[in-house]
């Protein structure tokens, strides 16, 4: 991350710091903010909403929430098809649904890339620069002794939370407040798992402003 990016991240974090709304009665309706973020407002109204978010921390947060939500729904196809599943632990779909989704995405992404068309999705420098990637060697089983999960560090992250589950969503372990972008899995956690068991793991980076960046869900097979 360059110095400029670091400065921008700091400014963004400070801008996102909570503060009292100067005049809640003048805050735009949620529907207006939603339409503004989607670029559906006339230019003058859009500028009025942006002006308001410049001075109202609460509405600025509402704006970011809308942007995140809009990005969330449009970002799902960005997952690498067949290798990772987007989503939080405990709420995954059954594997069959995921496989069907992955196949669908593979086709959709392929078509999208070939044609270079489709809706322009909002992109966020912050999100791009803080995307978490697995640093585990591909196609190598996880040893039962000395297994270490590794991921790309997130600039500015204060800590990481890790969750590991089996494919049928049985929680294997959680580890919180890890300072390093890695986690050594205790041998005991894997002892009851059959050879070839597929594990799903996910990392949350906790940022200084309290927000979190969730990784995609990665998979690994126990040796």
């Amino acid at each position: 991350m360059s110095q400029d990016d670091q400065q921008l991240s700091k400014l963004r974090a400070a801008f996102a710091a909570p503060a009292a709304a100067p005049n809640p009665e003048s805050c735009p309706a949620p529907e207006t903010i939603w339409a503004a973020v989607r670029g559906e407002l006339p230019p003058r109204e859009l500028r009025e909403v942006v002006d308001h978010t410049a001075v109202c921390a609460a509405c600025a947060e509402d704006w970011r929430l809308a942007a995140e939500l809009i990005r969330e729904s449009s970002a799902a196809p960005a997952a690498v098809p067949g290798k990772v599943l987007q989503g939080r632990f405990g709420r995954w779909r059954p594997l069959t649904a995921a496989a069907a989704l992955a196949a669908g995405l593979l086709i959709a992404v392929g078509i999208y890339r070939l044609g270079d068309f489709g809706p322009k999705q909002p992109t966020y420098r912050e999100a791009e620069s803080t995307a978490i990637r697995s640093l585990m060697p591909a196609d190598q089983p996880l040893p039962r002794q000395g297994a270490v999960l590794r991921w790309s560090p997130v600039a500015g992250a204060e800590s990481y939370d890790v969750r590991v589950s089996t494919e049928d969503l049985r929680l294997v372990l959680t580890a919180e407040s890890r300072k390093e972008p890695s986690y050594a899995i205790p041998e005991s956690a894997l002892s009851s798992l059959a050879p070839g068991t597929k594990l799903l793991w996910q990392v949350d980076a906790v940022l200084p402003d309290g927000s979190r960046r969730s990784s995609p869900t990665f998979s690994a097979v126990v040796r």
Binding site: Q7, L8, K10, L11, R12, A14, F15, A16, A17, P18, A19, A20, A21, P24, C27, A29, P30, E31, I33, W34, G39, P43, L46, R47, V50, D51, T53, A54, V55, A57, A58, A60, E61, D62, W63, R64, L65, A66, A67, E68, L69, E72, S73, G87, R88, R91, K120, P122, T123, Y124, R125, E126, A127, P208, D209, G210, S211, R212, R213, S214
Partner: protein, 183 residues
């Protein structure tokens, strides 16, 4: 012609997916005290959406984008209600003292939280003093939008957006510097 918000679909709304998207968004964006309540907030918001849908439209089913917008509105209503309650408790503790622990802050350390709020206030002051186009560009940049996206939102060319972001950010740094805030 049927607009997006009125579009009737033949598919049942995926409230599970909507719930997941909303919780994740709150978790990522909102300060800890709100994010910790994400599940409850979203649950309340979705129940309101379902109730509105039941009352107004009977068995009609709506597009996912319409439902998402409705859920977002209900969620923001809930968040604003909680914020008002939070503000009352902060103000009654005498925020001007500067050392009172602010539960709304994402910072675990009261001093850092206070410093962060101060810088946030200074940024808002500086934005208020900026010429409008630069203010719009910088505000959206601070909100996490990329330069091309700022251009699309505000109807500018990429070059114009880049220029305004660059100059606006320079203005902001200068203004913060004049307030004794180095970044």
């Amino acid at each position: 012609m049927v607009s997006d918000s009125q579009q009737i679909t033949g598919e049942a709304p995926d409230f599970t997916q909507l719930h997941r998207d909303l919780v994740r968004a709150v978790d990522r964006v909102c300060p800890r005290w709100l994010a910790d309540r994400a599940d409850d907030l979203v649950q309340v918001a979705l129940m309101r959406v379902m109730e509105i849908q039941r009352k107004r439209e009977g068995t009609a089913e709506f597009s996912s984008s319409y439902l998402k917008k409705a859920a977002y509105s209900a969620l923001i209503d809930e968040i604003r209600r909680l914020r008002r309650r939070q503000e009352v408790s902060i103000e009654s503790d005498g925020e001007e003292g500067g050392t009172v622990f602010d539960p709304a802050s994402p910072e675990p350390d009261p001093e850092r939280a206070s410093a962060s709020r101060q810088i946030g206030r200074a940024i808002r002051d500086c934005l208020g003093a900026m010429v409008p186009p630069r203010r719009h560009a910088v505000t959206l940049n601070l909100q996490g939008h990329s330069v091309p996206e700022i251009g699309r939102l505000l109807g500018w060319t990429a070059k114009k957006a880049e220029n305004l972001v660059y100059r606006g950010m320079a203005d902001l740094r200068g203004c913060l510097g004049s307030k004794g805030i180095q970044n």
